[in-house]
Symmetry: C2
Subunit: 324 residues, 2 copies
Amino acid sequence: MGPAGDAALAIALDDVRAAAQRLRGVAHRTPLLRSRTLDALTGASVQLKAENLQRGGAFKFRGAYNALTAMNAEVRARGVCAVSSGNHAGAVALAARLHGTRAVILMPADAPVLKRAATVGYGAEVITFDRYRDDREALARELAAARGLTLVHPYDNPLVMAGQGTVALELLQETAVDVLLVPVGGGGLISGVATVAAALSAATDVIGVEPEASDDLVRSLRAGERVRVTVGPTIADGQQTPIPGALTWPVIARRVSRAVTVSDAQIREAMRFAFERAKLVLEPSGASALAALLAGVVSVPGARVGVILSGGNIGAAGFSTLMG
Amino acid sequence: MGPAGDAALAIALDDVRAAAQRLRGVAHRTPLLRSRTLDALTGASVQLKAENLQRGGAFKFRGAYNALTAMNAEVRARGVCAVSSGNHAGAVALAARLHGTRAVILMPADAPVLKRAATVGYGAEVITFDRYRDDREALARELAAARGLTLVHPYDNPLVMAGQGTVALELLQETAVDVLLVPVGGGGLISGVATVAAALSAATDVIGVEPEASDDLVRSLRAGERVRVTVGPTIADGQQTPIPGALTWPVIARRVSRAVTVSDAQIREAMRFAFERAKLVLEPSGASALAALLAGVVSVPGARVGVILSGGNIGAAGFSTLMG
């Protein structure tokens, strides 16, 4: 594809730069951490971008805050809504509170307890639905229409994608990487990250990492088109999306070299490694990119590797159960 | 006391500055992290100095590396030894490896598994002793004499004290604080920190935090002289020292305004808070200063508070047991 192809994509570098301006002084500039043990184990030079230390405990705050900030003030004042089982819920709730507006979040009844508590804690109204029986998109549309709220999609929203891309902007400002490992759910993070990498560091391979139970990106890249999968059970609750987003997919198809999968056991080992060696708390989805590196799913001897640790929202009890 | 009193102290600001030079590019400059939840809970503006993210998982690396670096090269080449149940053991082992020399560490047989494994992992020889029956000081002297090793004391060593003080140098370069909460064992960290605070930020109150089971500093400050206590059982394995050090005490007596104690239950809650809200792994001793703040043992509404999170060396299994 030529420039016309690029122009058809939902976001470009300037959108991410604009997001970075909006996030300045509000989102944390999260640290880039090293682990010599990790370097020794992988033969690579690894930099960990600790988005588990972001406000709200995950990168999701970047996209949500960018979307709310860019919104027309009157529209925003009427309130926002979102559908999410987890980190996007908390992120929208927090962004709404910072903007002094209300948030109503549709969460599945089986959403992780800590994530629901965080969302309520940020002042949002939470409405639960049945993950298996209810049509979440229809519920969201009805809710938005009935209450005059603006829906903030967790990934298929250019402002959300651009906000997530600021992770890569920070990372590439501080270090050069040959490979960048990025957890993938609906593709909001990786589409933003890959947009930045393509513009600022074209030689960097951006690799998506999914749980085996939800390998829609691997299959889509192989097929050259969006493929819908049946999501199986996985501990990676933040990555249970059946198909790449309509807006994220074209960006990913153009900018991402490949995607790989990791098992729940590999994710668990990465969480344990992060805990014991890096002293960092990662939730399963937040550890998936690290898992790909640690398990050797991606082999990168001699390379400079960036790994996005995308979130850390898990309770001490839940963690203990997973490690037991 | 006048300047004559200061001159009699084991360390001054220049010693800490010299340590910072030696540590440059070797020790991590650990991040200063914020938690809005913590600010809201305490009514203060809190900055967390994350020394759990230091090399070796604790601030101890600073002092050990400073001591080995300043050592005569021939002396260092013959090897070093230390007595420690935990983080100082790993720190000396790591510093020795970086200097290409050998380390022999005396560890009690009941030292935490992860800490012993880390010490061995860094290439040190570990000799175990019985915490209750053996005279560790005598053992260490015999070992040093028999093998020509130089003993690196965990806190009563000016180079160790100065190295630990670099924690405060970094903290005060980045932010101003009214109160600085510091975990206390033998006093190496707080003596270095208080030396820096006295020189660069005289209005800052440096407050020591001990486990209830080992309140020697609280009693010593009250008595105006070193008081020896019988150490009771506590989860804070890094703070089980019966008496302030001979070299650390004069510095502490002159520079530290007060000390407080926290219970094991308060430490456990601080570890849980760090895990769930700050996404940080803290070992019990590493969480004691945070515990004092969270439990309201130190009440600081409106103040700018620095908290040193001194270490994070605990296994996932051990953590799960403590949280259970």
